[in-house]
């Protein structure tokens, strides 16, 4: 009889769990608990920091493998990265949700058992990456390479609707993880093959209908920023993709979008000027999409340095005064700390040594050196087009006050292929390269490097810092490494099936702390059983 009660209790428990596993309460987006990872970055701030400390610098050696999940494509073809996990999973009520181009999955966070898989029949598009899904209530959203926003039932992965958000004929593609802000699904667009304008959309969570659109580049003469383009034709086709997830400050009701490079990408004779609002960090009103401020981290970029690295939100102290801050380690090798209420720069500094800027202007924005723009006979530039940082998300730890960047010191030669007066598309390319990979830990108050952990080989992934004084990163040789977040010392490592292809996340279930990471076609779960 006692045993029966036990079984009954367990059944009730299971029923409660099942009933809870029906989606995401919007309130949890504002104050995520430690038993969830409800957005691309874990919360709206972009810090990728967890207050969990059950896995810590003292016990990391006892971290164990919990399970692995290998992608089941459900008979779908392997196109581009459709079998590579570049998305950051969401974890809600014991279920992990993640995506690759054309695919989405739900997997049991305790066991790695697949719950459902969804396959979208593609009509084309660049299958380079998919960064992840967003969830609101029972709805799950993700983008496809052929420019659809898909809405699935989070319970069983069945499709509710799909909506076209960009024109595939213009070579747009979808890759960004949508982010839910109040009653808006915030979606961006990708693509830099043709000269097309970037934009950011807010869409209705129930229907996918457009609520507002913010164009990154001016669409007509007189629009803000049009004075930084030679003419309307170039501005209207000036690029500035929005292919990384936004961050959000609920108190200010500001969305922070980081924008891509201008078009044509390397050849630039026909787009004289700063080319606003490309390669910028921009604050938008979340309900209207109206721009509140901007900071251009790469004025008149000519090196494919999109500035889509996230604007990471935190409150800090500058010269003894509490400040609302936002920081970005841009692809061009420069680190910026701004006041997020008005976009005014507080710190501008290199986080890796570069050779392309003459200094900073009065706004703290780098001033490009014309001699280091692409040349017919080549210009030696550092960083290379791949950048000092790229799409891999950084981390900020309020416990150490350090901003961690998955960085690289690189060089390449930038060649101008099309020296004509009216280039289009790319018109040039960088070739060759020297590269050193490292994690840079930056003191946000000064921009100075507190420590630098150099890798003995290529290694770059998203980062995760925790209150356990740990920083998780890719290491060389397909490894995952835990560094001491205060000193940068390597504490622990393990070998995976491939290089880490996303950013690690952490959560607590049943009193146990897990770390989840994707490497190629496998999702790995580690747990502290002690």
């Amino acid at each position: 009889m006692k045993r029966f009660t036990c079984v009954l209790a367990a059944s009730v428990c299971a029923a409660v769990l099942v009933s809870r596993a029906q989606g995401l309460d919007p309130a949890r987006l504002l104050k995520p608990a430690t038993d969830t990872w409800p957005t691309y970055n874990g919360d709206y701030s972009g810090r990728r920091f967890s207050t969990l400390n059950k896995i810590n610098a003292n016990n990391i050696g006892a971290l164990s493998l919990a399970w692995v999940y290998r992608l089941n494509l459900g008979g779908g073809p392997v196109i581009g990265s459709s079998a590579t996990i570049k998305s950051t999973p969401l974890m809600i009520d014991g279920v992990l949700y993640f995506s690759t181009p054309d695919h989405a999955w739900a997997v049991d966070a305790r066991t790695g058992r697949e719950i459902w898989h969804y396959l979208w029949k593609s009509t084309g598009g660049n299958h380079l990456a998919n960064r992840g899904v967003a969830i609101l209530g029972d709805n799950l959203y993700f983008e496809t390479p052929d420019d659809y926003l898909i809405c699935l039932n989070v319970k069983d992965g069945t499709e509710r609707w799909h909506k076209q958000v960009a024109d595939l004929n213009r070579f747009y593609y979808g890759s960004v993880a949508p982010v839910i802000v109040k009653n808006h699904v915030i979606v961006g667009v990708s693509g830099d093959d043709l000269d097309i304008p970037g934009y950011l959309d807010a869409r209705d969570p129930e229907t996918g209908e457009l609520q507002w659109r913010w164009w990154v580049v001016p669409q007509k003469k007189g629009d803000p920023g049009s004075e930084t383009w030679p003419n309307e034709e170039m501005a209207r086709h000036g690029g500035g993709m929005t292919w990384q997830p936004i961050t959000y400050d609920p108190e200010l009701n500001l969305i922070f979008v980081a924008t891509g490079n201008p078009q044509p990408v390397l050849a630039h004779k026909n787009r004289a000027g700063n080319n606003l609002f490309t390669a910028s960090l921009v604050a938008l009103n979340a309900d209207t999409g109206k721009m509140v401020w901007y900071f251009q981290s790469s004025p008149h970029d000519t090196h494919d340095w999109d500035s889509t690295q996230p604007g990471v939100i935190f409150d800090g102290e500058i010269n003894g005064r509490p400040r609302k801050l936002i920081a970005q380690a841009a692809r061009n090798g420069h680190f910026f700390v701004l006041d997020r209420t008005d976009g005014k720069a507080i710190v501008s500094a290199e986080y890796v040594k570069t050779n392309w800027a003459l200094g900073y202007d009065e706004k703290g924005q780098p001033v490009p050196n014309p001699a280091k723009m692409p040349q017919v006979d080549g210009a030696l530039v550092s960083p290379a087009a791949g950048g000092g940082a790229n799409w891999q998300p950084p981390s900020f730890s309020p416990a150490t006050g350090l901003f961690y960047v998955p960085a690289a010191r690189t060089f390449s030669m930038f060649y101008l292929y099309d020296p004509g007066d009216n280039p289009q598309g790319w018109g040039g390319q960088d070739r060759g390269g020297y590269s050193e990979s490292m994690v840079q830990a930056i003191d946000y108050k000064t921009g100075k490097i507190r420590w630098s952990h150099k890798w003995e080989g290529a290694a770059r992934s998203g980062l995760l810092s925790t209150a356990g004084n740990l920083l998780f990163s890719a290491g060389p040789g397909n490894s995952m490494v835990a560094l001491n977040a205060t000193t940068g010392d390597a504490l622990w490592h393990t070998r995976l099936n491939g290089a880490i292809s996303n950013g690690p996340i952490t959560y607590e279930l049943d009193g146990l702390q897990y770390v989840i990471v994707g490497a190629s076609d496998m999702l790995w779960a580690f747990v502290m059983n002690k």
Partner: protein, 300 residues
Amino acid sequence: MRHGVIGLIAATVIVVSLGAQQPQTPPAGRGAGGGRGQTYPPPSRGGGGGGGAAGPADKPLVDFALADKGKDVWIAECVTCHGAQARGTDTGPNLLRSVLFLRDRYGNEIGPFLKKGHPLQSGKPASSLTDEQITNLSHFLRKQLNDTLRGATVFTVQDIRTGDAKAGEAYFNGAGKCTTCHSATGDLAGIAGKYESVDIQQRMLFPGGGRGGRRGGPPPKSAVRVSVSPPGGAPVSGVLVYMDDFVVTLQDESGVSRTFKRTPAFKVQKTDPLEAHHALLETISDKNIHDLVAYLETLK
């Protein structure tokens, strides 16, 4: 009128010269191998390829013979307003950014548009264009578009020989310290005949691609070597196979692969024969680079 004729002739010459351009080897792109045996981060996006992975799956394929025929129509009827490369002039828009053209499949969009009465430069009515001519025009336009993409045959390095050979020779023998390891009459003799200018430039700046050597064969001269000193043990040296914060693997003089656990007391000394090249990246100017290439081009 005269300007118009001259403009037309000039544009025609440009079109013809573009058409006559020989197919070229696509650019090597990235990933040729950076310093220290690392591979350079792969291309961040995979567009290109004359269309490559970007765009719709049913995007039109270019038939070059039909594109050539389309070029004749273009020169006769379109070039004055839309330009040699269809990127527009003061009197006609850039067609490669036209949404109507980008949606076109072998003439199914541009045909009906033209036949509605679009003016032709010959003065003939657009309705006189045959379906075949419209299809050929579509191939010509798509080729112009693909030529702007990464991986297109015309998308490659131009003539980079702009340096001063004498200044390059002085840098080679002086500030560049190249003679520490190299000799114009020794290892570099005849290099101009072996490589294209851009390859000389690339190899000079970023040597070391594929320097790992073949398994079982002798390691290349540029291989990174390590010497390790285990606490209380005899030093061991060899060619570096792998190293991270926790282990180091080397191939010793007898060809045996040995792995050692790294600890604070365990000393590892690394010797990279290409270190001088890596260090040069910090100091060499673009002028030095171009002068050096010009000098190396004289070593025939």
